[in-house]
């Protein structure tokens, strides 16, 4: 099949960008979306043109490197799916698609569809861990964790930090990302010691990075490729509120 694309091309962080038209011929329905872009790039390289820059690595939906907007939807139309796992059979011959990078003040564009997501690392640096050093950890079975608690923590821990939640949010909030890590650790006994200081530190870092506030639209949950629930945000707000009270004691 044939696919018509409008792709955001921007040469660098400070360059101005624009949408450029491309047509990709001989698209197989078995191709992933990124393999279709590989084919486009192969053609550009053969003609001596600068290929379209986009991030990707594992191409099996787990590393979180890939992601852009397909017709305004983060990771494209399939729910619970990263764009590397979106397949061309989802589209029809002669479909017209617009590809744009994540758009958020805290995610400056680096080039074409690639954005700078280092703000996520800095949010984790603020407190997304348990403060224990290597060596001398007690026996793993000395900490009993109810199965449902472990499962819930795992649900939150499944976040891949792709940034789709930010791209989908009209406030460009990273509340879903931040709350997923807070709840992964906040649900487990190992994370209790620093639960409230962690909540305060990570939320404050989130705000300082220029992400917006959550206004409960639920767009983030709708596009999340790992289907992380917004109940995480409710729990984060509770912990943050409590943290603020504790800090005034």
């Amino acid at each position: 099949m044939r696919i018509h694309l409008k792709i955001w091309r921007q040469a660098g962080p400070n360059a101005s960008g624009r949408l450029v038209d491309y047509t990709v011929e001989d698209v197989s329905p078995d191709m992933s979306f990124l393999e279709m872009l590989d084919v486009l790039n192969e053609g550009l390289i053969a003609r001596g043109e600068d290929p379209v820059a986009f991030d990707s690595d594992c191409r099996e939906g787990i590393c979180g490197a890939c992601g852009f907007l397909v017709d305004g939807v983060a990771h494209g139309p399939d729910p619970g799916t990263t764009v590397c796992q979106l397949h061309m059979r989802r589209f029809d011959n002669n479909d017209r698609l617009t590809l744009e990078p994540w758009r958020a003040r805290a995610f400056p564009i680096i080039k074409d569809l690639v954005v700078d997501r280092s703000a996520f690392d800095r949010i984790i640096q603020a407190g997304g861990y348990t403060s224990i050093n290597v060596g001398g950890a007690q026996d793993g079975n000395a900490i009993l964790i109810p199965k449902p608690t472990a499962e819930k923590a795992m649900d939150s821990a499944a976040c891949i930090a792709c940034g789709a939640c930010v791209a989908a949010c009209k406030n460009a909030s990273a509340a879903l990302f931040t709350s997923a890590k807070l709840n992964h650790l906040g649900l487990l006994p190992q994370g209790q010691v620093e639960r409230y200081t962690r909540a305060a530190a990570m939320v404050q870092r989130h705000d300082a990075e220029g992400f917006g506030s959550c206004s409960n639209e639920g767009e983030c949950e709708a596009v999340c490729p790992k289907e992380i629930s917004i109940t995480n945000i409710a729990r984060m707000n509770r912990d943050y509120f409590r943290a603020m009270l504790i800090s005034r004691e």
């Binding site: 191709m31 390289i45 290929p51 861990y129 793993g140 109810p146």
Partner: protein, 637 residues
């Protein structure tokens, strides 16, 4: 120079303790004066950076990704082994040691493997304390499963995302050290050379992938933790950015490359669907617990699977290996899939696949039970192939998955370059000729959390370090070498893309240095590789800017290195005329077609010394002594 593995004396079980006691320490107040360069942020690199940061060293951590959390360790599904014996089923350090030695087909070092088995128990404790959400039983204890044909349940797991959760644990520990100021995280950088001063590894040259700037970094030691070389084959289960470049450039500066012919081919991957394909997707081998592998008895049988009656199906693994059946080890399952396809009995459009059939299991257990056990894998399969494995058998085929070979290291994980340490899949590892399931995560974390903090301290504490500046001649020379190579890539302006050339190389290696290898094919390959390499340097097209993000330029550099590396890979396979583990030489098999080792001539690790591109490398042998386990023929009949 004879290869000295520096294995400590004393009985096997006491070697590591004794070695730790005899190792030098670095005074806590002095540690911050030492700068340690860690390249790569997978399980090995991130765990090394965080544990060294905790101790107070000044750590510089580099990765090619936009964030340290994206390394391909994240894609490991199955789990991590540990000799905890929580299940009271007869496991022990001794048994994990024995299983790993045997699984590696008696081509690994006893002392290293024993240490790995010892440290496995500490890893689980450490990861639990970090908050890794391992699966639990209803009573709150850690759950275990049996994996990869092991007869005990020693595998810990976090759904199908164990690698992800362990990597995030290490990443978070590392981010904590970044916050404390002991670790500096330098993402978006690719190591393109290592700098030696007076014979010691004292720095690296990187390309800043966002700005194109060539940067110099100096330190007291360099840790290369950059994974394996599976993408030499183009199609593999590795990530598309995985590469051999850092290891290869270190090799060119004097680090020996050991056992490159030991490549692991995983039997349960989704088959290739066309030339557009950029990577292969692995499905956990736990599928073989309930799925039955078969092909039609007749060659060129183009009927749909449901039209082929039971009597005309060949359940070839069950037929040939009555006691292990569908659960034979990875290398055996892969080779058998290849041989039935070679007989023309492969299925699907390409004829390069076999069926993995859950029909019987669904009849016996019901669809719900199968959904509970494998639901996520079935969904993934359906997403990629558009076929419903609940209704028709899956099609599977082997794919390159893990590489046991790598830079040669001694017991201290130090390469033949003083100060250059190599951790995780990048070293020639503890896995011998074949790695068992759920052992890669174990090795990466053992190296980073528990081995390198001791052995690196000993190195730093027992050497003197002349002052080094990045303005020194050695840095200048290395930078200009790197710069010249990049400039050449940009000026060829040929007509083939790096991907086309990479695909050609990959196809060549897969056909001749893949699941089965023979003398004639390997010799043909050794003739073909230099031709491909010449074509690359005469006809590659690398458009786009030099001083900006240019992924095609990065990729071209990696393909160029693979075109050099492929020769030593093939040469190693040619020289080892025995079959062992992941290396199967057609000339060396038992009368019924099983791998036949030649212990008399090949009980050694082959370490190759670089002598120039296109020139034959020199072979050094590290003899392997088996004092505690007696090598025997592996049999899964």
């Amino acid at each position: 120079m004879p290869l000295d593995a520096k294995i400590p004396g004393g009985p096997l079980a006491e070697k590591w303790d004794r070695h730790r006691f005899e190792s030098k320490l670095v005074n806590p107040a002095n540690r911050r004066k030492y700068t340690v360069i860690v390249v790569g942020t997978g399980l090995a690199g991130a765990s090394a950076a965080s544990s060294l940061g905790e101790l107070g060293y000044n750590v510089l951590s580099f990765c090619i990704h936009d964030s340290p959390r994206r390394a391909h360790s994240i894609a490991a599904q199955g789990g991590i082994n540990a000799a905890k014996n929580y299940q009271n089923d007869g496991d022990s350090i001794q048994r994990l040691f024995y299983d790993t030695i045997k699984g590696g087909d008696y081509r690994s070092r006893e002392a290293n493997v024993y240490r790995l088995a010892q440290l496995s128990v500490n890893i689980i404790d450490q990861c639990v304390a970090q908050g890794v959400p391992f699966a639990r039983e209803y009573g709150g204890l850690l759950d275990n499963r049996s994996f990869g044909g092991a007869q005990v349940s020693r595998t810990f797991y976090a759904r199908g995302q164990t690698g992800q959760q362990l990597l995030l644990g290490a990443y978070q520990s590392m981010m904590r050290q970044v916050h404390r100021g002991t670790v500096t995280s330098l993402p978006n950088r690719e190591m393109l050379d290592i700098v030696l001063v007076k014979g010691q590894a004292r720095g690296i040259i990187c390309r800043n992938l966002l700005t194109g700037a060539i940067e110099r970094y100096a330190g007291h030691a360099v840790l290369v933790c950059t994974g394996g070389y599976g993408t030499a084959y183009y199609l593999s289960t590795n990530a598309v950015n995985s590469n051999v470049t850092a290891a290869w450039r270190a090799h060119k500066r004097g680090a020996y490359f050991a056992n490159p012919c030991y490549t692991q081919i995983h039997p349960t991957c989704i088959p290739v669907s066309g030339t557009h394909q950029s990577k292969l997707t692995l499905m956990s081998e736990s599928l073989r617990n309930d799925g039955r592998v078969w092909v039609p008895k007749k060659p060129d049988d183009k009927r749909r699977p449901e039209q082929i009656p039971e009597t005309e199906r060949d359940y070839y693994l069950e037929r040939r290996y009555p006691s292990f059946g569908n659960l034979v080890p990875r290398d055996v399952a892969s080779r058998n899939a290849k041989s039935v396809c070679d007989e023309g009995r492969g299925v699907g459009d390409s004829g390069l696949a076999v069926y993995l059939d859950f029909g019987d299991a669904i009849k016996r257990l019901g669809e719900d039970v199968i959904r509970m056990r494998y639901g996520n894998l079935f969904d993934m399969y359906k997403k990629i192939t558009d076929e419903d494995p609940y209704r028709m058998p899956m099609r599977i085929f082997p794919a390159i998955h893990y590489t046991m070979g790598g830079l040669w290291v001694d017991y201290n994980l130090m390469s033949t370059i003083p100060g250059l340490h190599v951790l995780g899949e990048a070293n020639f590892s503890d896995h011998g000729a074949n790695r068992l399931g759920a052992s890669a995560l174990m090795q990466g974390l053992a190296d980073g959390y528990f081995v390198i903090p001791y052995t690196l301290a000993h190195y730093l504490g027992s050497h003197s370090f002349p002052a080094v500046s990045t303005e020194d001649e050695a840095f200048r020379e290395a930078e200009s070498t790197v710069q010249a190579r990049i400039d050449t890539l940009l000026t060829v302006k040929g007509s083939k893309t790096p991907r086309q050339l990479h695909r050609e190389l990959g196809q060549l290696l897969w056909n001749e240095v893949g699941m089965a290898r023979n003398d004639a094919g390997l010799r043909r390959t050794l003739e073909r590789i230099p031709q491909l390499r010449d074509e690359f340097w005469q006809n590659v097209s690398v458009p786009g800017p030099k001083n900006n993000l240019n992924k095609n330029l990065e990729y071209a550099g990696r393909v160029a290195d693979y075109l050099e590396f492929a020769e030593v890979l093939t040469l190693d396979a040619l020289h080892r005329t025995e079959s062992c583990g992941g290396h199967f030489r057609e000339e060396s098999q038992t009368p019924d077609g099983e791998a036949l080792r030649d212990d008399e001539h090949f009980t050694y690790a082959a370490a190759w010394e670089f002598h120039g591109v296109g020139k034959p490398p020199m072979l050094h042998r590290e003899p392997l002594a088996f004092e505690y386990v007696k090598p025997s023929q592996r049999s899964y009949k």
